[in-house]
């Protein structure tokens, strides 16, 4: 953002106004907020609304009945209620449009498409829900062969380990528990992701490492050539 490039070309108050707005939007982008950052946000917004009259004074605008600028007033309260937006962008909803509207429309026969689109979406979400549920029950892991192998192995292990052979014959049902890391299921994935985020020490200190390649310069001259000029 090359704000100083405008100095001298627009009124000074306009630069201060834009700086206040930039401060607001840059703070809003933060991944986490505390009372200090929210207070700074409110102060920046205050400054912005105070200074923006310059746009009326210079005749750029006649009034500020702009919904987007009005929406800025609600940001701090919404962040307090729902947490940081963390750089959320409306283009995410835009990309949802492809899956929710464009693809189902292509799948339709173009005759009365709305009903078909809705039906496709309903079925897709039901499938997704079923998939999540199957994953939760551990049905979607591997294929039938690996399932049989797992079963045999568990059976064998329990027969070796358990003191009574009678129990080992019956002990087939709880076979998932020992090796289920849950990574195949949706919940498992989310949990794994959260593990990464919360891992202590993962958020490393700033760190600078040199490039792997470099030019090596060492003294080719005989030692007598090292004159006082160099040192």
């Amino acid at each position: 953002m090359f704000l100083p490039a405008l100095i001298g070309y627009v009124p000074d108050q306009m630069i201060q106004c834009i700086a206040a707005f930039l401060d607001f939007s840059y703070i809003a982008r933060r991944p986490s907020h505390d009372t200090h950052s929210l207070a700074a946000m409110e102060a920046a917004l205050d400054r912005y609304f105070r200074l923006r009259d310059i746009f009326i004074d210079t005749g750029v605008r006649e009034a500020f009945s702009l919904p987007r600028q009005h929406a800025l007033l609600h940001w701090v309260r919404m962040i307090k209620q729902f947490g940081s937006p963390n750089g959320v962008c409306t283009s995410i909803a835009e990309s949802k449009h492809i899956r929710a509207v464009k693809r189902p429309w292509r799948a339709s026969n173009r005759n009365n498409p709305l009903v078909q689109i809705l039906r496709t979406n309903t079925r897709l979400s039901k499938l997704a829900a079923a998939r999540a549920e199957f994953g939760r029950r551990g049905i979607l892991r591997g294929d039938i062969v690996s399932y049989a192998q797992r079963k045999v192995r568990t059976c064998f292990m329990s027969s070796v380990l358990s003191p009574s052979h009678m129990v080992s014959q019956v002990g087939l049902a709880p076979l998932e528990d020992d090796e289920d890391d849950g990574a195949d299921t949706l919940e498992g994935l989310i949990a794994a992701r959260e593990d990464v985020d919360d891992a202590p020490g993962y958020h490393a200190e700033p760190h600078v490492s040199l490039a792997r390649t470099h030019g090596v310069f060492h003294v080719h001259e005989p030692p007598s050539a090292l004159t006082d000029r160099d040192f």
Partner: protein, 213 residues
């Protein structure tokens, strides 16, 4: 070392490296800014093989940027006399200071070269930098940006060899133009040499803004 010193146009490179070694081997021994006689610094052979690197990668936690897993972000810091065989490019960086003075405990410096050399059993990675100092104690009232100026030692730029561990990340300086006209044919690669004062751009990206506010 002689060739690197010639290439960096810094005849005092050996002394700078010796001062750097003293700072590294005995951290906190000297008062900050206290003059240290060069004879009290560890000796370094003039035949030490010094490698000159033209870039370094800074990695830091910046979840508000477009970032990799866990919010880690990385960027290149360049110091090349002919970047992509075209023009010189020497980036500026934020350097962590020991105290809380300066910009939130940081200073701005321009990297002239990344160096690595063996001393004892360790490979030291360091950077030859030219310092910038704050032009005033408060930010510019108009833009809210801090203003820095080149720090001079006598009539030359103040240079020092610092450890790469003290470098936080790259920074972005914007020239304070004033009212004078730019000369015709001025090349942008000279920007960081030509001006007397620079804004430290805190709107360069979100992480910079977070660092400086």
């Amino acid at each position: 070392m002689a060739a690197v010193a010639r290439r960096l146009r810094t005849p005092s490179l050996r002394d700078l490296l010796r001062r750097y070694l003293r700072e590294q081997l005995y951290p906190g021994f000297d008062e900050p800014d206290a003059p240290v006689d060069i004879t009290e610094c560890p000796d370094l052979s003039p035949r030490t093989r010094v490698a000159l690197h033209t870039s370094a990668r800074a990695t830091f936690y910046a979840p508000s940027e477009l970032c990799g897993p866990g919010g880690m972000h990385s960027e290149m810091i360049r110091c090349s006399s002919r970047w992509f065989k075209r023009y010189p490019r020497y980036d500026t960086v934020f350097v962590r200071l020991s105290g809380a003075e300066g910009l939130r405990g940081m200073a701005v410096a321009r990297v002239r070269g990344f160096l690595s050399f063996p001393y004892g059993m360790t490979m030291h990675e360091c950077a030859l930098v030219e310092w910038f100092e704050l032009a005033s104690d408060h930010p510019d009232p108009l833009t809210g940006l801090w203003v820095v100026k080149p720090e001079m030692a006598g009539n030359r730029r103040a240079v020092e060899v610092i450890s790469t561990d003290s470098i936080v990340r790259a920074s972005h300086l914007l020239a304070v133009h004033g009212r004078t006209r730019m000369p015709r044919g001025f090349h942008f690669s000279n920007t960081l040499n030509a001006f007397k004062r620079y804004f430290v751009n805190s709107y360069a990206d979100y992480h910079t803004h977070e660092l400086l506010s």
